[in-house]
Assembly symmetry: C2
Homo-oligomer: 424 residues x 2
Amino acid sequence: MSEQSVRVVVIGGGFGGLEAAKQLRDSTVKVTVCDRDNYHLFQPLLYQVATGGLAPGEIAVPIRRILRGQGNAEVLLQDIEAVDLDRREVVHATGRIPYDYLVVASGARHNYFGHEAWQSAAPGLKTLEEALDIRRRIYLAYEEAERLDDPEGLGGLLNFTVIGGGPTGVELAGAVAEIARRTLRRDFRRIDPASSRVILIEAGPRLLPTLPPDLSRYARATLEKMGVEVHIGTPVSDVSADGVRLGDAWIPSRTVIWAAGVAASPLGQGLGAPTDCAGRVEVLSDLSLPGHPEVFVVGDLALVRGADGHTLPSLAPVAMQEGRLAARNIVRRLGGQTTQPFHYHDRGALATIGRSAAVADIRGLRLTGFTAWLAWLFVHILYLIGFDNRMVVLWRWAIAYATFERADRLITEPRRLTRPGTSV
Amino acid sequence: MSEQSVRVVVIGGGFGGLEAAKQLRDSTVKVTVCDRDNYHLFQPLLYQVATGGLAPGEIAVPIRRILRGQGNAEVLLQDIEAVDLDRREVVHATGRIPYDYLVVASGARHNYFGHEAWQSAAPGLKTLEEALDIRRRIYLAYEEAERLDDPEGLGGLLNFTVIGGGPTGVELAGAVAEIARRTLRRDFRRIDPASSRVILIEAGPRLLPTLPPDLSRYARATLEKMGVEVHIGTPVSDVSADGVRLGDAWIPSRTVIWAAGVAASPLGQGLGAPTDCAGRVEVLSDLSLPGHPEVFVVGDLALVRGADGHTLPSLAPVAMQEGRLAARNIVRRLGGQTTQPFHYHDRGALATIGRSAAVADIRGLRLTGFTAWLAWLFVHILYLIGFDNRMVVLWRWAIAYATFERADRLITEPRRLTRPGTSV
C-alpha cells in the first residue's frame, strides 16, 4: 500500500481528534475529520457560556478554519453512527466513508446512571446548545421571580442546585453564586438576587476528588464563603422540575444542573472491545483496539491507565497527548516500525472557584487563591484557539474582574424560532 | 393625581421604548418597561450576526442592565398581548398591568404580503433567533455541498438569494458575497465557495429607494463588482425550499432570505385608530393616539409624516426621537402644559455594502466608498450600547478587515437541544 493512497479517518474534532489530525500534517496520508458540529469546542470554558460570562463564538472555532492550512486534511460535517470494522468503513445517515486507519475520538456525554428521566429537569453541560439552555434557565428564573405579583409565591424559583462536585460543578456553583451576589445586585426592583440559594451536591466524600484533599477543603471553604451551601456524601435520590431529594430532605429548586458524571460515546459499544462501567473502551498500551491495529481510540472514549495503575481522568491534556500518539503510531506503522506505548505527561490540574480564587496542583506544587487563579487564567488563554478569541476573552475577563459584569446574559429561546409574520 | 403615583408603562425595549424610559429618568413617575426579550437589540447590525461577523451578545444588552442606574424604572420580561384602553391596562398571558400613561413601542415584524407560506423557506431578519437561523442556513449549505459524493448534485445548494433591496437586503447580499469569495476561500477541498451565486432581488425600480438615485446606482455597481447578481423591477412570484420564481425564470436556490417588507406589530390593530397598509398606527402630531391623550405610539409602529409630507422611514433615529418626545409630552401633560408636535431631525442615512464600501446621504452631502464606510462604522460604534461591546466589535471589525475572517460562524442547531444521555 503506497502511503499516498492511505486514508485516515478521524471521528470527532475535539481535543483528541484535532491533535491527531494536526500531528499528521507532514505525512502524505489523507486525513478526513468527521464531526457533527462545524466547530471545535473549548470545553473547559463551557461553564462560562452557561453562566453568561463568555459568548459561544468566543470558545468555539470552526474545525475547517483550524485545519485550513493543512492541505492533506479535509473536514466533513457528519454525525458518524457506527464503525464497520470488517469493511473498514465508518457509517453515517446517508452513506459510508472507507478508511485505512481510524482514530475514534467521539468523546463522552452525560451519565444519569439509569435516571434518564432526570435529564429534562437537570440538563448537563457538554454542548453549546446545553450551555445556552442552562444560561436561559438561570437568567429566566430571576425574570420570572421579578414579575411575580406575590413574592410569597417564589417557591424554589431562586434556588439553584448543581449536582456533582467535580471541576465543572465547582465552577458552575461559584459562577452562579457570583451572579446572584454581584452581577445582578442592582438589576432588580422587586426581588433581591442576593437572597438566592446556591446548592452544590456531591455524593462522594469531598469536592474535586481528583485533586489533593487540602485543595478540596480550600474549595469547599471558599464556596461557603461565597454563600454556596455544600452538601457532601449524600447522593440525590430524586430530581424533578420542582427540586431535588437529598436523603430525607426535599430541596425546592427550579433550576438544577447536572455535572455528576459522564458516559462514553455510544460508538464505543460497537467496537467489540471490553468497556468499563462508563462505557470507555479498553485499548492496548499503544491506544489501538485489541485485534484491530488499524483502529485507535483516544480521549474521553478511551480507558487508559497511568503509571500508577489509575485510570487517567477525562481532561483535555490527556486527550491531546493520546491523539498525538495515535497519529505517530499510524505513521510508525506505515513506515514498518513498531508502535509506541502511551505515557501521560502530567503537567498538573487546575480548577477555578470564582473571582481570584482557584486551586492548582502542578507536579506536587499546590496553589490556592489568586496565584492559582492567575495560573488557571494563563493556561486557559494559552490553550484557547485563535488569536482574536484570546484577545476578546482576555478583554471580557478584564471587564468582569473590574465590574462583575457578565457580557452575554441573553435569554434566547430556540423554541420561539419562527415567529408568525403578520399580514395586514 | 399626584405625580408620585403616576405609572408609565412602556411596551417594547427597542430604540423607541428605551429612549422614552431614559427620558423619564429625572421625573418622579414610575416607569415599567415590558419586553418579551430580556435584551435591547441593536438591529442595524443584526445582519452581521446573520452572516457570522459578530456574536449575538455583541449587539444585544440586557435592558435591565441599561436601566440599572435609573431608580424609577423597572423592567419586566412580559410579552404584552393587548391593550385595554378603557381600563387603562396592558394585558399579558397571566395578568394585567395598569398604567396612567402608555408608550406603545412594539415595533414591526416581517411582511410576506399575504404569502405566509413563504416564511419557512425564506426567513426574515428581525430577531436574534432569526439571525442565528439564517447563519445556520448559510454555513450549512457549504457543509452539505462539501460532503456530497456527486458534485453534479449541487442543484441550488450554493445559490443564495436575498429578496428585498433596502439597506438590510443590500448589506446581506454584500456580506454573503464576501463569505463566498473571501472568508471561505481556503476552507474547502471538494467545492469552490467562490463558485457560489449570490442573487439580490428588488421589485421596485432601484436599490436603496430611500436614498438618492446616484447612491442606488453606486450600490448596484459595487455589488455587481463583488459578484452579486442584481435583479431590479421584478417581484418574485413564488418562493419554495428549492428556489424562487422571478417573472418567467426559475432560480434554484436552497438559501433564501426575506428582506422585502415589514408589518407593524399586531398590537397596533387593537388601538382603535386608523392604520396604513403596513399596519402602522396614525397618531396625532404629538404622537398620541386620537381620543387617548394618555397613550403614545412611537417607532416602527407609528405612522408619522415628515415636513415634506412623506412617511418617516423605519429607522433607529426616528424611533429614538419619537420615544424622547413621547416622554417629554407625558411630563408636559403632568405639569399641565400642552404637548409638542414631533419634528424629525434628519441627520442622514447610511448603508454599507461591503468592506470599505458604503453609501451615505448626510444632509445632502453624498458619500460613497471608503469615506462613507468609515462614517458608517463610526456612527454604528457610537450608538452601540456598552463600552465593552464597542471595544469587542471594533476588534472584530479590525480582524475582519485584515483577514476577511468572520468570528462567529458556528452552526448551532436549536432543534438538537436535548441530546439523549447514554446509560451503560
